[in-house]
């Protein structure tokens, strides 16, 4: 059912609103000249798109650089986002025409069409007197010679990249029918140092790997961070004082609070979608079960009681269910239960072991690590159907979903004494795989929602 949604949205692009309501065909039938990116087949035939530098009304020097340079950088970031999605083929820089300011809202359709762009993204940048930038973003169909969408953003100088991500989201959602994901952030563990004593620091970055900053100094092992839905807090595991337990980091204040106290090992924290709870795993006398605790602290509640290792939980988007892994059957397998721990049902039955399940924000899929003939990132439905492997590395692990449920970030480790871990992303086709340009190595990515701040 949910897989159908993007298709209906695609159809809506092509037909008058009244007809779109009744569009039930399994695949959209593009009208000649209509602009559609097929998210299944688009990987093999990405849409030609042009994103020329955004002109400025007046070249003004800002803390983020002169506005004409910003116009070029904005176009570069938009181009990068669209290219990385695998669904677009941006024109190379050398083929981009210069856009005079007056032309930003009156494009040279025939010129761009002749250059191979079926879609065109134009805009402008203007420095305001109060320390902000205004960025305009326009999407055009060069064949039908019409505007498809427009947005404007006013942001502080230092946040100019967000205008580009928002513009790219507008283009992506309008042309694919999928949800946005470019204006989002990822919390992860930055890794440096030798394999036997890796230095690990909490780090926060934009989804494209830029704007990174470190939140901890590396003196203590930190693992498995997770962002709250409101993006104000990060829950993670810290070995502070050699007592591995869960802490909550408040992003605005930088304050860290121990959440689970007086236990020998609490780990694998996950926020509930409403932010009220943190699901976690706790080991007591060698037995690990799932618990939940109010995210502001308080008394925990036990959710599972099996004698095996129950860990790696993840909430369904509506918060009503939890998928987790357990070796109660003898090896790691995936189970789904109600959020209060009732009605536990096994959903994975294939060969090998299944770990680190992550419920898609769209609700339709569960991503996991599959161990067996290597470590793979795979997907299946919440009832265990349609199992499909997306990656095949030496050791791919710990998938986390983009806000639109179409892209997955994970970490890939290489072998040997000089082996390192790095962040990668892959889309649901399994074809569009790429490494994130983090400044150092990285692991344990957790992809946050679309920014609303």
């Amino acid at each position: 059912m949910t897989r159908r949604l993007p298709l209906i949205a695609l159809a809506a692009l092509l037909a008058p609103a009244a007809q779109a309501q009744t569009a039930t065909a399994p695949t959209p039938t593009p009208t000649p000249g209509g602009l559609v990116v097929d998210v299944e087949g688009g990987i093999s035939a990405p849409m030609g798109i042009a994103v020329p530098p955004m002109p400025t009304s007046e070249v003004v020097s800002t803390p983020a650089g002169p506005t004409d340079a910003l116009g070029r950088q904005l176009a570069d970031v938009i181009t990068g986002d669209l290219k990385n999605s695998g669904l677009f083929k941006p024109l190379p820089t050398g083929q981009l025409l210069n856009v005079p300011f007056a032309e930003a809202t009156a494009p040279n359709y025939t010129g761009w069409s002749a250059a191979g762009a079926t879609a065109l993204v134009q805009g402008y940048v203007r420095a305001n007197g109060n320390g902000t930038l205004t960025v305009g973003c326009y999407l055009y169909d060069t064949a039908q010679q019409r505007e498809l969408a427009r947005q404007g953003y006013v942001l502080p100088f230092g946040e100019w990249r967000r205008a580009a991500h928002k513009c790219a989201d507008m283009v992506y959602t309008r042309l694919t029918g999928e949800g946005p994901y470019f204006d989002s952030r990822v919390v992860y563990v930055s890794e440096t140092g030798p394999k036997g004593k890796r230095v690990k620091r909490l780090a926060l970055m934009d989804q494209d790997g830029f704007n990174g900053r470190f939140l901890t100094n590396g003196q203590t092992i930190v693992l498995t961070p997770t962002l709250s839905r409101d993006q104000r807090r990060i829950a993670y595991l810290s070995y502070l004082d050699k007592k591995p337990t869960i802490y909550v980091y408040d992003i605005a204040s930088g304050r860290q609070t121990k959440l689970v106290t007086d236990v020998s090992l609490a780990f694998a924290p996950r926020f509930s979608p409403d932010g009220r709870w943190i699901l976690f795993s706790m080991a007591q006398n060698g037995n690990t079960d799932l618990y939940r605790i109010p995210s502001g602290g308080g008394q925990w509640q036990r959710l599972t009681t099996s004698p095996g290792i129950d860990t790696g939980g993840s909430y369904s988007p509506d918060g009503s269910k939890i998928v987790f892994e357990s070796d109660r059957s003898g090896a790691q397998q995936l189970y789904v239960m109600n959020a209060d721990g009732s009605n536990q049902q096994r959903i994975s039955f294939g060969n090998g072991r299944y770990a680190t399940p992550a419920w898609s924000p769209r609700g339709d899929l569960i991503a996991f690590t599959k161990i067996g003939g290597g470590f793979h990132v795979g997907i299946m439905s919440p009832t265990g159907g349609g199992e499909k492997m997306l990656t095949d590395g030496w050791q791919d692990e710990a998938p986390s979903w983009a806000p639109n449920g179409r892209v997955i970030m994970f970490f890939r480790s290489t072998q040997g004494g000089s082996g390192v871990a790095d962040l990668w992303s892959v889309d649901l086709t399994g074809v569009n795989e790429r490494r994130l340009p983090t400044p150092f190595d990285g692991s344990d990515p957790n992809w946050g929602p679309i920014r609303t701040d």
């Binding site: 693992l223 090992l265 694998a268 080991a283 006398n285 060698g286 860990t311 680190t356 040997g416 692991s443």
Partner: protein, 171 residues
């Protein structure tokens, strides 16, 4: 008092000798390009200077501070029992000494599962020592999962070394 001290020195000497004769090396020779840190470095500085009951004394007195586990297992096998028995003997002799047991896993597992597995291994060692009469209140455990490998290769021999529980006497 004098005889006790003599006995201790003798015991220590015996343990050292026995170690030379039969004990497998705690750390296999490093492969080219790798320089693992010797966890016992400094333990033998000045043979006569080791204080009875000290962490150094523990190192000299036991067959090993480390036991190993099979893939995805946490049971205490015969080799591990022999090692833990010597640890229990020392701990019974020094009833005011507290220990922590570190549980570790090899790299071929997911991070969170390996944390739980390391905890299982540390607790298996703890439970064995408790069964040998050591008050469990003297024993804390900590799991490092796959975060602190001692052998850095990605091969069966390295993984076998990393699946371990290490007993550390607290200062």
């Amino acid at each position: 008092m004098a005889t006790t001290t003599t006995k201790l020195i003798l015991l220590a000497a015996l343990a050292t000798t026995a170690g030379c004769a039969s004990k497998r090396p705690k750390v296999l020779p490093p492969t080219a390009g790798e320089t693992p840190v010797d966890p016992n470095a400094g333990a033998n500085n000045g043979v006569g200077a080791v204080i009875p009951g000290s962490p150094q004394d523990f190192q000299r007195s036991v067959m090993s501070d480390t036991i190993h586990f099979a893939l995805d297992m946490y049971d205490i096998d015969a080799a591990s029992r022999s090692i833990l028995d010597t640890q229990a003997t020392w701990l019974l002799k020094w009833p005011d000494r507290r220990i922590t047991i570190e549980g570790h896993a090899d790299e071929r597992g997911t991070r969170e599962y390996n944390l739980a597995l390391g905890d299982r291994r540390a607790n298996a060692a703890k439970n064995y020592l408790a069964a040998k009469g050591i008050n469990p209140a003297r024993i804390t455990t900590i799991s490092y999962g796959k975060e602190r490998p001692i052998a850095l290769g990605s091969d069966e021999a390295s993984w076998a070394q990393n699946r371990r529980a290490v007993t550390i006497v607290l200062q």
